[in-house]
């Protein structure tokens, strides 16, 4: 049994490591892109087939977003960011649950022992991935804030020299933006990595039937983490652009 915090490199292109999570993330992105392209071709005025299913998913996400924004136009404006995060994270989380994927890989000698490095590892179980998504979330929030409020007014929230209190609050706001990156990325990474470890341990101890409840648990955790990540992004987007309403 090999547990590694870092994603395992399968090969190197020059000095650039191709890790199993990078392959997984590219695969997830590719599949989602293919689904998007197919969906676009299948969209009909009378919904049917895959177009209907994807439309239902998008509408469900929009309805859920409406419960936060209370404004359909606002929900539609935030949809690309929130839905991209949700779909990517949930696909990455659930891919680890496909039975057998973690058992296919290459054997490498590590500290004198031969260990299996699986080709497949959940992308969310790599801090590089969760950090990238968290960075995207925070940057997208700032960009949206600048677009809605204007650059000056938005940056004024962080750099306010009108009085010391507001200046200090601005600094706290700035620090909180960095803290969001850390909290987003470590929360998702921690949950999914812990889930992978849990499944690995349980499967090693009792390979038959016993892991089943844990698989369902991870299925649920994967959904909840995707929901939490995307909803926190939505709340941040809403709060960042809120001043336009007042």
């Amino acid at each position: 049994m090999n547990i590694s915090l870092a994603a395992e490199p399968l090969l190197h292109v020059g000095t650039f490591p191709i890790t199993n999570t990078l392959i997984m993330a590219v695969a997830v992105v590719f599949v989602l892109c293919v689904i998007a392209v197919i969906t676009r071709r299948k969209l009909q005025l009378i919904p049917r087939g895959i177009g209907n299913a994807i439309e239902a998913v998008i509408e469900q996400i929009l309805d859920f977003m409406d419960s936060v924004t209370h404004d359909r136009a606002q929900s539609e404006r935030f949809l690309p960011v929130v839905a991209a995060i949700f779909l990517f994270v949930i696909a990455s989380n659930w891919i680890e649950l496909v039975p057998g994927l973690g058992t296919v890989g290459i054997y490498e000698m590590h500290e004198g022992k031969e260990i299996l490095i699986p080709f497949i590892r959940s992308a969310s179980a790599d801090l590089n991935v969760t950090l990238a998504v968290a960075l995207f979330s925070v940057v997208a929030t700032q960009v949206m804030g600048m677009r809605v409020l204007g650059v000056g007014r938005h940056l004024g929230k962080f750099f306010n020299f009108s009085n010391p209190i507001l200046g200090f609050v601005g600094i706290l706001e700035l620090v909180s933006e960095f803290a969001k990156v850390v909290s987003f990325s470590f929360r998702l990474f921690g949950n999914i990595f812990a889930g992978e470890v849990l499944l690995l341990v349980v499967t090693t101890l009792a390979p038959y039937v016993v892991p089943l409840p844990f698989l369902f648990l991870e299925f649920f955790v994967g959904f909840v983490q995707a929901l939490v990540f995307s909803m926190l992004t939505l709340v941040n987007l809403q709060m960042t652009t809120q001043h336009t309403e007042h």
């Binding site: 993330a25 590219v26 992105v29 892109c33 539609e76 690309p80 991209a84 990238a132």
Partner: protein
């Protein structure tokens, strides 16, 4: 710090690669999924709204047409009844006029026939009288030729004619 990042597996090259990967996904989904789906949802909503509005308009129009139809049918029924009554009246008037004309024609024909019959009777009477006069004259002449004068002859003839005139044939 470097050691911590290394232990956590954070590699700025992989981080950038994952970021690029996710940005690509974001752009592709925005271009090929969200926009078309939102446009389709908006189009469908518009279609549904149009359909509902058209259905309401059609329903209203149908109710209006039904109402107009009822009014037209009622008017036509009244007109039909009026026409029937007028036709019955005209038929009655015509029948009466025809009857009156027929009566008048019949009476005129009867009168004409009576006049013709009277004329024929008068002509026959005149002819009979003339014949009888001639016969009486001839008989009287033969019977009284030897005993009566000319004046007495004529007197007798006149007396006989007057008597015949007074007699009804």
């Amino acid at each position: 710090m470097d050691e911590l990042l290394h232990k956590l597996g954070i590699d700025w090259r992989l981080l950038i690669a994952q970021l690029v990967n996710f940005v690509v996904l974001f752009l592709v989904l925005r271009r090929f999924l969200y926009r078309p789906v939102l446009e389709m949802l908006a189009r469908r909503s518009q279609h549904i709204a149009d359909g509902l509005r058209d259905a309401t308009a059609a329903s209203d129009r149908l109710a209006q047409v039904e109402q107009e139809r009822g009014v037209i049918l009622h008017r036509a029924e009244l007109e039909r009844q009026s026409m029937l009554e007028r036709a019955a009246q005209e038929a009655e008037t015509l029948r009466r006029e025809r009857a009156v004309a027929a009566d008048a024609e019949a009476e005129a024909r009867i009168a004409r026939a009576e006049r013709e019959a009277e004329r024929v009777r008068e002509e026959m009477l005149a002819a009979v009288r003339a014949e009888i006069g001639d016969l009486v004259l001839a008989i009287s002449r033969k019977a009284t030729a030897a005993h009566l004068t000319k004046a007495q002859h004529e007197q007798l003839i006149h007396a006989a004619i007057e008597e015949l005139r007074g007699a009804k044939l």
